[in-house]
C-alpha cells in the first residue's frame, strides 16, 4: 500500500478497462420517451450526485455513507452490493480520506427522466489539491453515466459507471501532439 496506485481497487481497474472499449453504451442525454420528473425530483437527484464526492473523499461512516447512496443491488462499475461498495470507498485513496479531503470535483450535471426513473451524467475532475504549499495537480478525469431509482428512502444510484477521458480519432489532416497520447 506504499504506492498510491496500488490503492485503487482491482474492481475499479477492471471497470476502467471495460469502460475503454465500451464507449457510448447508454447516454442519458439522448431523446427520452416517457417518464417525467418533478422539480423536487431533479433537486433530490442533484443532491445525491453532490453527496457522492463527500462520501468517497471523507470515507464517512467507514465507507457506508458511500454505499448507502446506492440501491441494495446498486453497482459502481463491477462493484455490487453494500459491503463491496463500502470497502471500495474505504480503500479508495486509503489513508488519505478525512473530513476535509477534496478530490472528486463534479460538474456538467445532467439529469433526464426515463420510464423507470432517471438517468444522468457528469464530468469528473480528480484533483490532488495542494497541502502544505505543494502544487495542486490534475490526476485524471472522465464522465460518469448513472441510472437512478426512487426508493422509499429517496433517490439512489442503481448503477454508476466511470468512463475515463479519451480523445477520439483525429481527422487525417490533424497531427495530434505526442503530449496527449504520451
Amino acid at each position: 500500500m506504499k504506492n498510491p496506485k496500488t490503492n485503487v481497487s482491482k474492481a475499479v481497474v477492471a471497470t476502467l478497462l471495460i469502460g475503454i472499449g465500451a464507449a457510448p453504451l447508454v447516454r442519458a442525454q439522448q431523446k427520452v420517451t416517457g417518464g417525467s420528473l418533478s422539480a423536487a425530483d431533479y433537486i433530490e437527484i442533484q443532491q445525491l450526485v453532490a453527496r457522492y464526492s463527500y462520501a468517497v473523499d471523507t470515507h464517512a461512516d467507514n465507507g457506508y455513507a458511500y454505499a448507502d447512496l446506492f440501491t441494495t443491488d446498486g453497482t459502481f462499475g463491477n462493484t455490487k452490493g453494500r459491503e463491496a461498495l463500502a470497502e471500495l470507498a474505504r480503500t479508495t485513496q486509503k489513508d488519505r480520506g478525512g473530513p476535509a479531503y477534496t478530490r472528486h470535483f463534479l460538474t456538467n450535471v445532467i439529469i433526464y427522466p426515463t420510464p423507470e426513473g432517471a438517468r444522468g451524467s457528469q464530468y469528473l475532475m480528480a484533483l490532488d489539491v495542494s497541502e502544505g504549499g505543494k502544487p495542486s495537480s490534475i490526476v485524471h478525469g472522465g464522465r460518469y453515466d448513472d441510472v437512478y431509482v426512487k426508493t422509499p428512502a429517496g433517490w439512489r444510484f442503481k448503477s454508476r459507471q466511470l468512463y475515463p477521458a479519451k480523445i477520439g480519432v483525429p481527422p487525417p489532416t490533424a497531427k495530434l501532439p505526442p503530449s496527449t497520447r504520451r
Binding site: 469502460g19 464507449a23 457510448p24 447516454r27 442525454q29 439522448q30 422539480a39 423536487a40 433537486i43 442533484q46 453527496r51 463527500y54 462520501a55 471523507t58 470515507h59 464517512a60 467507514n62 455513507a65 485513496q93 480520506g97 478525512g98 476535509a100 479531503y101 477534496t102 478530490r103 470535483f105 463534479l106 460538474t107 450535471v109 445532467i110 464530468y123 475532475m125 489539491v129 495542494s130 504549499g133 502544487p135 495542486s136 495537480s137 490534475i138 490526476v139 485524471h140 478525469g141 472522465g142 464522465r143 422509499p152 429517496g154 468512463y163 475515463p164 477521458a165 479519451k166 480523445i167 477520439g168 481527422p171 489532416t173 490533424a174 497531427k175 501532439p177 496527449t180 497520447r181 504520451r182
Partner: protein, 350 residues
Amino acid sequence: MRYRILATGVTLGLVALVAVQARQTRTGDSTAVMALTAMDYIQIKQLVNRYAFALDTASRNGYDYADLFSRDGVFDSNTRGRVQGRDQLAALARGDKKGPLYVNHYIMNHLIEPTADGAVGRQYLINISHDQNIPSVGPNPNQWDLVGQKRGSLDTVGGHYEDVYTKTPEGWRFRSRRFVPSKSGPDPASATMLKTYPVRPDPTDTMPTVPGGLSAMDYIEIERLVASYGHALDSGYGTTDNGAAYAGLYTADATFGQSTGYAQLAALGREQPQGPQYVRHYLTNHVIEPFAGQAIGKQYLVVVDMPEPEARAKGIPGSIFLGGHYEDVYQKTPDGWRIRTRRLFRAQAQ
C-alpha cells in the same frame, strides 16, 4: 356527521404526520426542519454561483460580494481570519480585485441541508489561474493540434466551504461562510455527512411567482441546457455527430462568437477535438436571471486536457488549456430552453 368529518380529517392528518416523520427518521433527524422547496434550493445555489463572479470581479466596488451576506454575515478562512460587516466584506473582495474578466474560483459539488431556521451547505473549491500571454497559434489553427498546450495551472488553494444560509426579505443570504483547505488524513471516523430531506413540492415548481419570472422547472431546464454544453461538444451525447448535438443546443437563428445559425454552429462543433469518451469543457458557477420574459446567464469555463489512462498510469498530470466565462441569452422554444446568443470572454487579469 360533523364530528365524523372532523374525526376523519384528524385521522388523515395523523397518518400524514406519521408518514412524514417516518421518512424523516430514515433520512435525517425528526426534529422540525424548515422544509425547503425546489425554488429554495435553486436560490441557494444561485447565491453560491454568484459568489465567484462577485469575488473575482469585485463588481460594484466589492459590494456585490458583501451583499451576498446577511447584515451580520461572516466570512472566515485560514488566510483571512474572520471578516464581518458590509464594508469589511466589500474591502475583502476589492483586495482580490483582478478585473471584470478575471476568473479564479471554480466551485462545485453543492450540498444543501435544511435546518430549523434556514439551511447549511458545503461546496468544493479549486482556484485556477489562466495564463495572460498565450502563444499565437496563427489563423484557423487545427484545433486537434493544440490539444495539450498548457495555458494555466491550478493554484495552491483548494478545499471546501461550509455555509450557513438565512432567508431574508431580499432572498437567501450567507449568514456565515468558512473556507477549509483540503487536507488528507487518517481520521475518517470524524467525517460527518450532511443529512438529506425530501424537497417540498410547491406551485412555483412550474409557475413563476412574478409575471415574467422563472419557475423552478425553468431554472432546472436552463441549468441542464448549459450543463449539456460540454457533453454535446466533446462527445456528441453518444451520437456520432457532435456538430448536430452542439448546434441543437441553440435556437435556429442563434449566435456564438463569429458563428450564426445551425450550419455554422454545427461546423464549429465538428472542428473541435471530440470522441465518445472525450471530456474537455468543464462549466460551473452558473448564474441565471429572468430577463424580459426570457432569461440571461453566465458561467465559468475551464477547458482541461486530461491524461488518458496510459498517461495517468505513468503519473502524467492533466493540463489547463483555456479559461474564461460565457455570457448567454436563453429563449424558451416549443422544444424547451435554447441558447439564443453566447459570448466567450477569456480570462484576463486587469
